[in-house]
C-alpha cells in the first residue's frame, strides 16, 4: 500500500488535444478517491497514466516516494479493473486470477493461498474452473476484481467498472466494492461518470471537466459547497436549478420573480449574510430537494407544473420559472398533478450564488 501523488500531470495527444491539464492530486494511503466528470473530461486518461497504459506528456506520478513515470505497467505494482472486464477468454477463472502472480514467478503454494482467499471474499469458489464466457456479467466483474486483489498491489485502479452491469447488479456490486475496500484498505482510484457511485464510494471526490480539476473534497462537501456552477450542476440528481438574475437590496430579481436572500434582521446569522451579499448580476442556484410547498420558508414563486413523476418515495415535478426549466423534488405523498398551480418556497440559506462571468461560487461561507 502506498500513497499516490500526481504533480502537474498533463496529457497532450498527437492531434494537439489536451486531455489532462495540470492535474495535482494527492491520494492518501488507503484512501478511496473517485474521479468523476462527464465523458471526455480526462478522468480515464488520468487513470491510464497512473496505470502506465498512457504516456505522460509532462508532470510526474509518484507511488510512495518512487517516481513511476517511466516504469512499465507491470512494474508499477498497481492493479486495474477495466470497464469491459478484460478477462482472458482462453483461461479459466483460476488461471485468470493467478496470471499476474504466475508472471511474477510467485511460488505455487502462495498463489493457491491467495486465489483461495480472494475467491472466498468474492464467493467465486464454484466458478474457478469455468471460462469467462460461461459467467454472467456480475460474475465476470467479480472475477476481474479478484484478479486485481490476488496481486495485493500497492493500489487499485477502477475504470468505470460497473457501467456495463444492469441497474440492480450495479447497486449490489457497488456495496460489495465498498465492503471490499473497508476490508482491504488498499489505496484506490475509481473513475466513474455516475455521481451516485462517486457519492457513495469515495472518501473524497475529484470533479473534472475538460482535463481540469474543478474541485477536490469529501462527497458531502462537494454536494453542499460546490466550488463552481459546473460542480453544482454535475453533482446531485436531479441537477441543481439555475436562474440568472440580479441582486439589489438583498433581494434576487429575475423577470417577474423576486426572492429575498436576506431575512429581516431578527436572526443574527442572516444579518451578517445581508452585509456580505453581492449586488448586480448573479446566477442563483437551488437544489430540487430544497424546494418545499410548506409556507414556513420564504416564498420563491407560484408555478404551473408541466410534468409530474410519481416515484412512490418522492415526486419529481417539472416546471418553468422565468424561462428556465426547473425541477422540484416533493414528498412522495404529494398529490400534485400536471397543470396544477402551486407555490414553492425555498428555505433561508438553501441557495447558492454564482458569479455570472466566472461561474465561481460566491457568498455562502464554508461552515
Amino acid at each position: 500500500m502506498a500513497q499516490i501523488r500526481l504533480s502537474n500531470l498533463c496529457k497532450r495527444f498527437e492531434n494537439g488535444f489536451v486531455a489532462v491539464d495540470q492535474v495535482n492530486l494527492e491520494i492518501a494511503d488507503g484512501e478511496f478517491l473517485v474521479l468523476v466528470g462527464p465523458s471526455g473530461c480526462g478522468k480515464s486518461t488520468t487513470l491510464r497514466m497512473i496505470a502506465g497504459l498512457e504516456e505522460v506528456s509532462s508532470g510526474d506520478i509518484f507511488v510512495g516516494d518512487q517516481r513511476i513515470n517511466d516504469l512499465e505497467p507491470g512494474a508499477r505494482d498497481i492493479a486495474m479493473v477495466f470497464q469491459n472486464y478484460a478477462l482472458y477468454p482462453h483461461m479459466t477463472v483460476r488461471e485468470n486470477m493467478s496470471f499476474g502472480l504466475r508472471m511474477r514467478k510467485t511460488p505455487k503454494a502462495e498463489i493457491e493461498k491467495r486465489v483461495a482467499a480472494a475467491t472466498q471474499i468474492l464467493s467465486l469458489e464454484s466458478l474457478l474452473d469455468r471460462r469467462p464466457r460461461q459467467l454472467s456479467g456480475g460474475q465476470r466483474q467479480r472475477v476481474a476484481v479478484g484478479r486485481a486483489i490476488v496481486r495485493q498491489p500497492k493500489a487499485f485502479l477502477f475504470d468505470e467498472p460497473l457501467s456495463n452491469l444492469d441497474a440492480k447488479l450495479r447497486v449490489q456490486m457497488r456495496t460489495e466494492l465498498a465492503r471490499l475496500h473497508h476490508q482491504l484498505r488498499t489505496t484506490t482510484v475509481y473513475v466513474t461518470h455516475d455521481q451516485v457511485e462517486a457519492m457513495t464510494l469515495g472518501d473524497r471526490i475529484v470533479v473534472m471537466k475538460d482535463g481540469v480539476i474543478q474541485q477536490i473534497d469529501t462527497p458531502l462537501n462537494v454536494y453542499q459547497f460546490p466550488a463552481n456552477r459546473f460542480v453544482a450542476g454535475f453533482i446531485g440528481s436531479p441537477a441543481m436549478n439555475f436562474i440568472d438574475g440580479e441582486i439589489s437590496a438583498g433581494v434576487f430579481h429575475a423577470a417577474e420573480m423576486r426572492y429575498p436572500l436576506s431575512q429581516p434582521a431578527s436572526k443574527a446569522g442572516t444579518l451578517e449574510q445581508a452585509r456580505t451579499l453581492p449586488t448586480g448580476p448573479v446566477t442563483l442556484g437551488f437544489r430540487p430537494e430544497s424546494l418545499t410547498t410548506q409556507d414556513n420558508a420564504p416564498r420563491l414563486a407560484e408555478v404551473r407544473l408541466e410534468v409530474v413523476e410519481q416515484m412512490g418515495h418522492e415526486t419529481i415535478a417539472y416546471f418553468s420559472l422565468a424561462g428556465n426549466s426547473m425541477v422540484a423534488r416533493l414528498s412522495g405523498k404529494s398529490t400534485a398533478q400536471p397543470a396544477d398551480r402551486i407555490t414553492l418556497h425555498l428555505p433561508v440559506g438553501d441557495w447558492h450564488l454564482f458569479a455570472r462571468e466566472t461561474n465561481r461560487h460566491g457568498q455562502q461561507p464554508r461552515l
Binding site: 486495474m80 477495466f82 469491459n84 478484460a86 477468454p89 508472471m103 469467462p132
Partner: protein
C-alpha cells in the same frame, strides 16, 4: 404450426440443392478412384461400376515400387511444411505489427502488400525466376520455399491483421498490468486468441505449396527433386499417359490434405474471444 409444411418444403429444397453439389464434387473423385483400381488393359472402359469386378491394387503397388512416389511425397511434405511454418511465423508477427503498432509507412506497406495480389502469379513468374536464378537457387527447395512464401504471405498478413483487429486491446492492457512484457503479451494472450486465424493461415500456406504446379515446374528440374504435382504430370508422357498411376497418385495426394483439414477444422470455431470483454 401453419407454417410447418412450408418450412418442410424449404428444407427439402435446401437438401436437394446440397445433394446436387455433393454429387458434382464427388463424381470426379469417385471416377478417379474407380480408374485407379482397374487393371491396366481396361483403363478406358465405360463400365459404370465404382469398384470394377476385376479390381486390383497394381497401380498403387507400381507407384511405390517402380516410381519415386515416396521421394516426391517427402519433397512435397518438406516444402509444404516449411512454407506453412515460415508463412504462419511471418504472418503471425507481421500481422500483429500491422494491427497494433503505428509506424511510419504502415499504411503504405499495407497497400503495397495488397497491390501484389492484383497480379496473377504467372505474371510474377519471370521476374521471380530471374531473381532466384541470380541467387543460384534454381533446382533447390529453398528457391521454391521463397517463391511460395512470397506468394502466400500477402493474403496471410491481411488475414492475421484482420484477426488481431478483433481482439480487444484491453486484454493486452490487462496482460501488461499483470506484468507481461510486449512479447509475453503477444505469446500468452494475443496468439492463443488468434488461433482460428492461425489455422486459416496455416491451411492456406500448406495448400498453396502442396498443389502448386507452374512455379515448381520452373524451379525444379531433376525428377528426384519433384514435388507431387510435378511427379504426377510426369506420368503424362508425349506418347502415352499412365492413367492408372495418375489416378492412384491423385487419390494418395489428396489424403494428406483431407487429414490436415480435418485436424485443423475444429480450431476453425467462431466465438473463441467471447466472454472476455463486454463491449
Amino acid at each position: 404450426m401453419a407454417e410447418a409444411p412450408k418450412s418442410r418444403w424449404i428444407a427439402a429444397t435446401r437438401h436437394a440443392v446440397l445433394m446436387l453439389f455433393v454429387l458434382i464434387s464427388v463424381y470426379p473423385v469417385i471416377n478417379v478412384f474407380s480408374v485407379s483400381l482397374r487393371p491396366g488393359n481396361r483403363l478406358r472402359s465405360t463400365d459404370l461400376a465404382v469398384i470394377p469386378a476385376d479390381w486390383t491394387l497394381d497401380s498403387y503397388q507400381k507407384l511405390f515400387t517402380e516410381q519415386p512416389f515416396l521421394q516426391w511425397l517427402g519433397n512435397s511434405l518438406l516444402v509444404s511444411l516449411a512454407v506453412t511454418v515460415l508463412g504462419v511465423g511471418l504472418a503471425a508477427t507481421g500481422g500483429y505489427a500491422l494491427s497494433r503498432y503505428r509506424f511510419v509507412g504502415r499504411k503504405a506497406s499495407m497497400l503495397a502488400i495488397l497491390t501484389t495480389q492484383m497480379f496473377p502469379a504467372t505474371m510474377l513468374l519471370l521476374p521471380l525466376y530471374v531473381m532466384i536464378a541470380y541467387l543460384h537457387l534454381v533446382n533447390t527447395f529453398l528457391g521454391l520455399l521463397i517463391f511460395y512464401t512470397a506468394t502466400a504471405l500477402p493474403f496471410c498478413l491481411w488475414q492475421m491483421k484482420g484477426f488481431y483487429d478483433t481482439i480487444p486491446i484491453s486484454l493486452e492492457e490487462a496482460a501488461r498490468m499483470d506484468g507481461c512484457s510486449r512479447w509475453q503479451t503477444f505469446v500468452r494472450v494475443s496468439l492463443p486468441l488468434a488461433v482460428p486465424g492461425l489455422v486459416i493461415t496455416a491451411l492456406f500456406s500448406f495448400m498453396t505449396a502442396w498443389s502448386e504446379y507452374i512455379v515448381a515446374a520452373q524451379v525444379l528440374q531433376e525428377r528426384d527433386m519433384f514435388t507431387l504435382p510435378l511427379g504426377l504430370k510426369s506420368f503424362q508422357a508425349s506418347m502415352s499417359t499412365e492413367w492408372g498411376l495418375y489416378a492412384a497418385a491423385s487419390i494418395l495426394v489428396s489424403i494428406p490434405v483431407v487429414i490436415v483439414f480435418m485436424l485443423l477444422s475444429r480450431y476453425l470455431v467462431s466465438g473463441l474471444n467471447m466472454g472476455g470483454v463486454k463491449e
